[in-house]
């Protein structure tokens, strides 16, 4: 315990003033907390004894809002959860509704969904890489990463009209088809992206400072990671090869050829390596999806659920009536409950959707990967330095919009 060794002018001078516990409140406006996360750090000097995350600053009651909106109106809410991976959120939401409605999605829509989701995954990983490196002190990486992300956002904008909130997927298919010239732009991007990845590997991966800041820090074992419910790159960094695209395939992922990168160390560096290698795998999937793009319908054949084409509405009375009914009253979804998981860029993104029939869901619950991964932060931080907490948060790749919902 700290004892007074000297008494100078009535002030106790302690031999080790920080030997006793100190509480440091980190955030909620700290830039390295990636949003509005507050950490209550219990410190012994620089050493973290305990870390208590405090969340909810961004809580907007989205799950309540879903219950008051028609199924098709819920899509735009999902955009705002994990705002770095909005297409993944769209996908899981529409797939849950499609599962309840038992819709058959046409081949082209499936391929476009895979294509867009993998582009979005790359974009999400670019934000992660840029901010993770920025947290650790490498500023220039951020700009190179955002340049790549910008190209993807421009492509998403050309297809959907929105950059951060695309709402591109609809229950039963897509909002609209890919614009002319999209494939060429995408091929151009794929070529440039590999060069950019070379830059990142040189700038970050080969950087001895970055390596020494990330190796042997924030270690979590595979068994513990499963117990904490970690998914995605955080789990694969601990040596557990689980990827829902391969193990619970959806949207036809079983027909694509890709690997699931695994690292075994379970530290920040391992999670970093997994995400970097995943970018190449996503790149591979995008390339395959581009080759499979053949003309065809992009909406399911379900006139009571899927909005008709504008042209049809002008020519056919029934299309006009369907359009009016879908917009004004919505469509009834059979009663039941489903849990739909997908592999989002941060891990298992699941949606539990319950319907009592009728045009509005009874309950929509999102299992956000960031929420679950953040819960494991205290075990990773214990015994590390304060500066490493920043590196560990970066390696978890959290988005507070999804945690707080």
């Amino acid at each position: 315990m700290a004892t007074a060794v000297e008494n100078i002018a009535g002030v106790d001078v302690l031999d080790r003033p920080l030997e006793s516990e100190m509480t440091l409140s980190m955030g909620p406006q700290h830039p390295s907390t990636h949003g509005v996360l507050r950490l209550d750090l219990k410190l012994d000097g620089e050493l973290v004894i305990d870390c208590i995350p405090d969340i909810g600053y961004l809580h907007t009651g989205m799950e309540k809002l879903f219950e008051y909106k028609k199924y098709q109106q819920g899509i735009v809410i999902t955009d705002r959860m994990d705002y770095l991976n909005p297409l993944g959120n769209n996908l899981v939401y529409v797939m849950a509704a499609e599962k309840l409605l038992q819709l058959e999605i046409p081949e082209r829509a499936q391929v476009v969904r895979v294509l867009m989701c993998e582009l979005q995954r790359i974009a999400s990983h670019m934000v992660w890489l840029g901010t993770h490196a920025l947290d650790i002190g490498a500023m220039s990486v951020f700009f190179y990463c955002f340049r790549q992300r910008e190209k993807i956002l421009n492509m998403i904008e050309s297809a959907s009209g929105g950059r951060l909130t695309p709402s591109y997927f609809r229950i039963g298919g897509l909002m609209m088809d890919l614009p002319a010239g999209f494939e060429n732009r995408c091929r151009q991007f794929l070529g440039d992206f590999l060069e950019a990845m070379d830059t990142f590997e040189t700038l970050v991966t080969g950087n001895p400072i970055f390596q020494s800041r990330t190796k042997d820090i924030g270690i979590i074992s595979g068994e513990e990671a499963i117990n904490w419910g970690l998914t995605g790159p955080c789990l694969r960094g601990s040596g557990v090869g689980l990827d829902l695209r391969r193990d619970n395939p959806y949207t036809g992922y079983e027909t694509y050829d890709f690997n699931v990168p695994i690292e075994t160390d379970g530290d920040v560096w391992a999670r970093f390596r997994v995400r970097m290698r995943e970018c190449y795998e996503s790149h591979k999937i995008v390339r395959q999806a581009l080759e499979r793009l053949t003309p065809g319908p992009i909406k399911a054949d379900a006139p009571k659920v899927v909005l008709p084409d504008r042209d049809d509405m002008r020519k056919h009375m029934d299309s006009l009536i369907h359009h009016f009914l879908i917009v004004a009253e919505g469509f009834d979804v059979p009663a039941g409950e489903v849990y739909m998981p997908i592999e989002a860029s941060k891990g298992e993104l699941g949606v539990y959707m319950k319907s009592n029939g009728g045009p509005k869901p009874e309950r929509v619950h999102f299992r956000g990967p960031s929420f679950v991964n953040l819960a494991a932060l205290p075990v990773m931080c214990e015994g590390e330095m304060v500066a490493d907490v920043v590196a560990i948060i970066g390696s978890l790749d959290i988005v507070l919009g999804e945690i707080d919902r």
């Binding site: 969340i55 909810g56 809580h59 009651g61 799950e63 309540k64 809002l65 008051y68 599962k99 309840l100 038992q102 499963i226 117990n227 904490w228 419910g229 557990v240 689980l242 193990d247 619970n248 039941g336 409950e337 489903v338 849990y339 998981p341 298992e348 699941g350 539990y352 319950k354 009874e362 309950r363 619950h365 299992r367 929420f371 679950v372 819960a375 494991a376 707080d404 919902r405």
Partner: protein, 159 residues
């Protein structure tokens, strides 16, 4: 696909017939209703003997004030070994909205249960740290209950 899942439910029934109530099979998913008193036993059997090593999700739902039992808690179990998913459902009445915690089996349940407590108002007996998680600690009511108005009771201020 669901035969495999029914096999797990049958194993539960064989172990103790009182563990499983109604079993539903819909949309390729199997749901087993489990009495609140045996949820910990059922979960630990599935986790330790049947390979359901991950709790993918836990969420509460309010069926409406006129229903009895009013609340339900859904456990979405997942196996990283055989990649199956099973849903356990615990029905909770409004008079005693309480379920034993599974936070000692899966650490991930800690935050899920806090969220369920916060938003739906189901308590988890034996939970190590049952506080509100998303809403402020002095928040009145449980926002995801059906009788809670969309815009709250009065303008909420952080003071």
């Amino acid at each position: 696909m669901t035969e495999k899942l029914h096999a797990y439910v049958d194993k539960l029934k064989a172990k103790d017939p009182s563990w499983v109530g109604e079993v539903t099979d819909a949309f390729g998913e199997v749901t087993a209703i489990v009495p609140a008193a045996s949820i910990v036993d059922v979960c630990s059997f599935l986790k330790n003997d049947q390979g359901f090593d991950m709790l993918a999700d836990l969420c509460g739902a309010d069926r409406g004030p006129e229903e009895d039992p009013r609340f339900e808690v859904n456990y979405h179990l997942f196996s990283t070994v055989h990649h199956s998913r099973l849903r356990l459902k615990v029905l909770v009445s409004e008079d005693a909205p309480s379920v034993p915690t599974v936070a000692y089996l899966w650490k991930t349940a800690n935050w899920h249960e806090r969220e369920t407590y916060d938003l739906v108002g189901v308590k988890f007996e034996g939970h190590p740290d049952l506080r509100r998680i998303l809403l402020p600690s002095d928040f009145d009511g449980h926002a995801l209950r059906k009788d809670y108005p969309l815009r709250g009771y009065e303008p909420y201020s952080l003071n």
